[in-house]
Symmetry: D4
């Protein structure tokens, strides 16, 4: 059980990293690569073409602007491809979102929120959990923890609100 996390540029790493930490937390092996659909197209395509044979179960593709990387990987490999749109310095991420999500009939990319690296990781884990039941149990535990944190914040905000005079 392992996945590939491909980004189009090393400048995407600070965003992607947040997802890597979650994969680590779930003990999902993630191989991280910088492969550009435009600057190293043959490497990107070769990777996608071999991904299944290399034992990957799915691919996360992160890219900004005209974010072709996830779509290009998805066109070559039949593995599920998760697309992570990265916000760049113009257009507030709308360009990468539309470039990734609006795939033509036949080749889907499973798109998550702009800069939503944690969700790309969690979606990967959900997909793997179709096969690996232990991940599903961990996901349930993760959600219990997440709910607990919300509850703690609920308590904290109730206190904060008292300071404003709301009780």
């Amino acid at each position: 059980m392992k996945i590939a996390v491909i980004m189009g540029s090393d400048s995407d790493f600070p965003v992607v990293e947040k997802g890597l930490k979650i994969l680590k937390e779930f003990n999902v092996q993630a191989d991280v690569r910088v492969l550009s659909a435009h600057r190293t197209p043959f490497k990107a395509i070769e990777f996608a073409n071999n991904a299944e044979d290399m034992g990957y179960d799915l691919i996360i593709g992160a890219a900004g602007k005209a974010a072709h990387l996830p779509g290009v990987l998805a066109g070559v490999s039949v593995l599920p491809v998760i697309g992570l749109p990265i916000k760049s310095s113009t257009m507030d991420g709308l360009d990468s979102l539309l470039s990734i999500v609006q795939m033509p009939k036949g080749i889907p990319v499973a798109t998550v929120a702009i800069n939503g690296a944690e969700n790309a990781a969690l979606l990967a884990i959900q997909i793997l959990s179709v096969k690996h039941e232990e991940l599903r149990e961990k996901l349930k535990q993760y959600r219990v923890e997440m709910a607990k944190q919300v509850e703690e914040k609920d308590q904290a905000v109730i206190e904060l609100a008292k300071n404003v005079g709301c009780e």
Copy 2:
């Protein structure tokens, strides 16, 4: 191996139907339901809460406008949820796309293109293929067919172009 295809309104059916045909073609059992996150919230939530126990491997949620359905299902079930944004009479589908894809940290929805029902189905099949290898083989065959069709269209367009005088 079966999936649930939930739509927020029966008016979504003509779009969703295109995906159902693909699921049928791949012999993936799909239970189709109309469950509204807003008009029948308890039924929607109850469904999501029981989906795993009912034997579903994943859920496709289709919805238009403030398309909360996929996100609501995803918040309740740990199964992978695919979000299919439906174009309604205003905003050209941008409202449903953003409502579905911009999920907060912790609860991903695997979003496909606006009205991209075929891709929602194909993504479901790709996810199932992580466990069911026979689907992966069928997917490869499907892509071969798809490529053949493109090649036939390539030939057809070459002929059409001759009529314009391009040779």
Copy 3:
């Protein structure tokens, strides 16, 4: 006479706080909670389901990104629900605005401006004033004060303009 102010994340508090101050000013009791439509869906739904019995007259729901919270609360409770879209780090608040305002037929959410917490509070007060006439009188007084402030700023700007040489 009391209202519930629910936010999807404690990070929404600095925006929401501005509205709480106005509620305080009008002596409207406001219970403030963090309840996530996605991370604590059952708590959120349970709250909405009991809100009327708990004596709430209306609910303010604040959320960012795919801001499902107000719509989910509105689907469960028949109390009026005010939706407050919060601007997050991408899409300039357009995602939360569309996710909140574009509700389907049958379940309205009374949406205010992006980050418009003061207006969410004032709208709540206006709604309560349908029953509680004393609030209407206070609202009129509030507007008189507001107009006075505009008039003071009018005077101040006339002075500022003189510095530019406009008289």
Copy 4:
């Protein structure tokens, strides 16, 4: 118990009419008027200024393009004002939505979906129900009916899906 439904142009009537039917269904008296913020500004303002004295509990304002009407009414009256953005021939309703919802601090407009006349009516009823408990009971009944319709459509779609071969 009565409300005012003001539209900026008679061309808005076909949309607004859907809301009037719901108000009729709930036996809420609705006085319907065409008053333009730009073409008959004094009439519009006079109306808003007298609305409370005339016995109105709230105002629905419907307008397209640079849809100033609801905001202008809200600036003059302290009654709750519901804004209904109407889609016109350009900009897909985004112009009227932003013109109505993005009100400045101090003067809220309770905005519903573009062309969402039914929801404007239902929101009005919810607001009135803060005072009039019988409306709240009717709202609950309305939602039960609405849920029933969804359930019938659920059944119908299950049948439709069988035709595609999904069972």
Copy 5:
């Protein structure tokens, strides 16, 4: 010959000020006011209603968000109204631009660029120059100066380019 410069909020002053300087430079008398279409509607309308009698030749209205001010002034006065959309903290000025420019048939507002206070002033001067020929001559001189500045910058950039190695 005098004009009125009305802004919806004193927070618009730093933008508006750039236009005032140009009006000063052209010796056009400009009375500057803060009048809110929503917070001081009667004052705003009264001003517009008396503007012609007070001797104003035209009105500049500056406003942000749901920028109704210029349209409201234009609905009351037959004087030409120039609309200056102010960028606020969300939506990048698109909300105020659409609220100002998309006026309904019958009541135009002469809209300039977002935050384009200088151009609002220059447009005012151009309009006044229809009557006052001396302003037209000054405008021509202003453009000559402006062209000279561009030419100086042209020279400066040629030098800067040499540093990059372009000659």
Copy 6:
């Protein structure tokens, strides 16, 4: 007293025509031309350069897509230039609106609503009325007529509403 109405393409005529009728109604002489900023740039520029000498008081420029025409005319002539954005087959008029309104510092274009030809004409009349008082009187009469029409529609809608059962 005469104005020039320049359009970038004869396909703009059906929209522009609605403004010409208003100009005719006000007895404002309007010379109508097709001059393209891109296909006949020298003619367009020559026209703008001579417009003042030819006795024009102002120019209306209508254009779609990358609607440069009004800005180009405004860069050459110091006459007031009104920009009329025309909706073309893509982008819902947003492209022409932004291309016309977002003029740089120094050269304003007085922009009206997308396809708002009547308002371009009325704005032209308002500008001319700065010099020609008789136009201002006609404008007031025009507004009285317009208000009367709204009042008739008000009556008509009150009747329509009765049919729905609202009285």
Copy 7:
């Protein structure tokens, strides 16, 4: 001297055809192909990889939605690639425009207007004319013809305007 016109789908042909007619008119040999970046990625890449050796001087790539084709071709070939965004059934062409034009540093695509097939062809001819002077002469002649047509339309519109009463 020959060029390749590649489209992602045969459904793009009716738009592309308008450009082919212009290429024919200029006697530029154009080979027309359907090659999908997603459905036949290897064929697309192989074509781009061999394009220079096959004697092509440049490539036009036409595509809709997540229009990756031009960018993918540009990443493989050093020939100039012209990108032609095709409007599909949602998002009014904005998705394909952003997907094509927002290319990352290093790999440009020369983008033309949405559905602007004629301009893609004319740009191709302009690029070829850098080497082939006879094309530049033809371009000048083409522009003379185009200007003549505008002048004829100018005359036609002057007549049309007379019917409205503008003279």
Copy 8:
């Protein structure tokens, strides 16, 4: 072999400069100028009109907001014109992108990404390489270097990922 790089304002220089460095690297002579379509229209047009005679092979036009410059140059000269949209303080560059790319039939502008100065330069080089084969060889070498850098970043990111615990 030389090109002209024209910008509408000297404030565009910091963006444009990045492209100049690439032109320098390829030994392409670039004459850099500030010529405004609006503030120095005759100079801009004169330049475009003489550009071919002055020996330029193509023109790069950079501009922000209502970025008419590239289109105006393209309307006058038959040389290929590359349009570089500059992001200004509002609208995130969308205004300049649409103003540049949405050119009408007949006059194309080869548009690159918002602030994509490097790509404007590389596209210029690609266009010149149609005639000058040595540039094509340099372009291939440039891409080899670029690919090498991606590979180095690939290695660097693999190391970074190890720190997160991904191996």
